[in-house]
């Protein structure tokens, strides 16, 4: 666990200093841990565990948009688990359950790969459709069609700067819509 935490902290430091590949690796590494914790939280609240993927995505969006509140001199895991716990509690509340989520649920979690019985996450995809066209197109091009920023710019005859702005705004409004729903 300690080794894992140090690796995450190093990756996040690299990410903050501009290394997008490190950021990608970090998010891939934390997702299974978040998934396992979400499943455990759902199970404890008596909810079907196959809805964990929506919660994982909700957490990842919050991590992304709030990463400037992480202190680069502090370990990354406690920050991550605080965000995750907050989002998990919110998600369970939205489903009408009041539950106590322990921070250790995350710290001691064994990663869980996407299980066969997991329902594909639908909330982000649904909210994506309600975004302004430009933001939706850009997010879709980069996420779903795995196009680069450069290719996306060429495809929609936009500048790369405009693509970056649309991408960030799209992700921010997705998060806002998920919160308001």
């Amino acid at each position: 666990m300690r080794e894992r935490d140090e690796e995450w902290t190093d990756l996040m430091r690299s990410a903050i200093s501009g290394d997008s590949a490190a950021y990608h690796r970090l998010l891939k590494a934390v997702a299974p841990v978040l998934r396992a914790a979400a499943r455990r939280g759902l199970a404890r609240a008596g909810q079907p565990v196959d809805q964990s993927e929506d919660i994982v995505q909700d957490i990842l969006l919050a991590v992304h948009l709030k990463r400037h509140t992480w202190d680069a001199n502090a370990p990354f895991a406690p920050w991550l688990f605080a965000i995750a716990r907050n989002k998990l509690i919110d998600a369970l509340r939205r489903r009408g359950r009041r539950v106590f989520v322990n921070i250790d649920d995350f710290a001691e979690t064994i990663p869980s790969e996407p299980a066969a019985e997991t329902v594909p996450a639908s909330e982000v995809a649904a909210q994506l459709q309600s975004l302004p066209a430009r933001q939706r197109d850009v997010v879709q091009s980069i996420a779903v069609d795995s196009a680069s920023i450069k290719d996306t710019a060429a495809k929609f005859a936009m500048s790369e700067g405009a693509v970056r702005v649309a991408l960030h705004r799209g992700l921010a409004s997705l998060t806002a819509r998920l919160r308001e729903q």
Binding site: A31, Q57, T69, D71, A74, I83, L171
Partner: protein
């Protein structure tokens, strides 16, 4: 959408940098301060005998207390804007203004009383105080909440209450230069009630707008 795809979009947005909470909070407060000052100069103004008043240590103490409140609340709210933090180990900062006030009350007790205690406590401006401090706080409270929205407070109501203390501290600093009641007893009663009111508004607003 598959999570791997979302992760790809997030990684592509890695270049985006959000400004730190402290920076946004500072800008928002600087923008709101003129509004509160406009209310102050339009409705209240500095008391006419301010030059003589400044020689009274109890007049000066008011500013010490209100600024101590504002500064400690700013420190606590910046701390709480990080998700993994709690009030634990930081709440004592908020006791500094209270301690100053208690010391002031004790000091005044030891001096020969010019006026009976109840007269000093009730004062002559309590109603203005109860209206002016919350009113001048509101623009600053809105600014504080905008600043803290940039953060990730996991206890939004508590963070909102601290934002209330912060804005009440700043508004009370303005108000103190108008008010002719300098007794620490007056400050302890009426400023405190006004501050508690603003803090309650902050908690209520915070629980709505500071969720992330």
């Amino acid at each position: 959408m598959e999570t791997d795809r979302l992760i790809r979009a997030l990684a592509a947005d890695n270049a985006h940098r959000s400004p730190p909470v402290g920076f946004v909070l500072t800008l928002a407060l600087l923008a709101a301060a003129p509004v509160s000052m406009a209310i102050f100069f339009a409705e209240l103004g500095v008391r006419p005998d301010v030059m003589t008043a400044m020689r009274n240590p109890f007049f000066d103490l008011k500013f010490l207390v209100t600024l101590a409140l504002a500064i400690s609340a700013i420190a606590v709210s910046l701390h709480l804007s990080r998700p993994e933090t709690s009030l634990h180990g930081w709440a004592w900062l908020l006791l500094i203004p209270a301690g100053l006030l208690v010391a002031g009350i004790a000091g005044e007790m030891m001096m020969p009383a010019r006026l009976p205690m109840m007269t000093r406590l009730v004062g002559s401006n309590s109603r203005v105080c109860l209206m002016a401090i919350p009113l001048m706080s509101l623009p600053l409270l809105a600014a504080s909440l905008i600043g803290l929205r940039q953060g990730a407070p996991t206890r939004p109501a508590i963070a909102g209450a601290i934002a209330g203390l912060l804005s009440a501290g700043l508004a009370a600093t303005l108000y103190a230069s108008h008010c002719t009641d300098d007794s620490p007893l007056f400050v302890a009663v009426w400023y405190t009630i006004a501050t508690a009111l603003v803090s309650a508004i902050g908690a209520l607003a915070g629980s709505r707008v500071l969720r992330f």
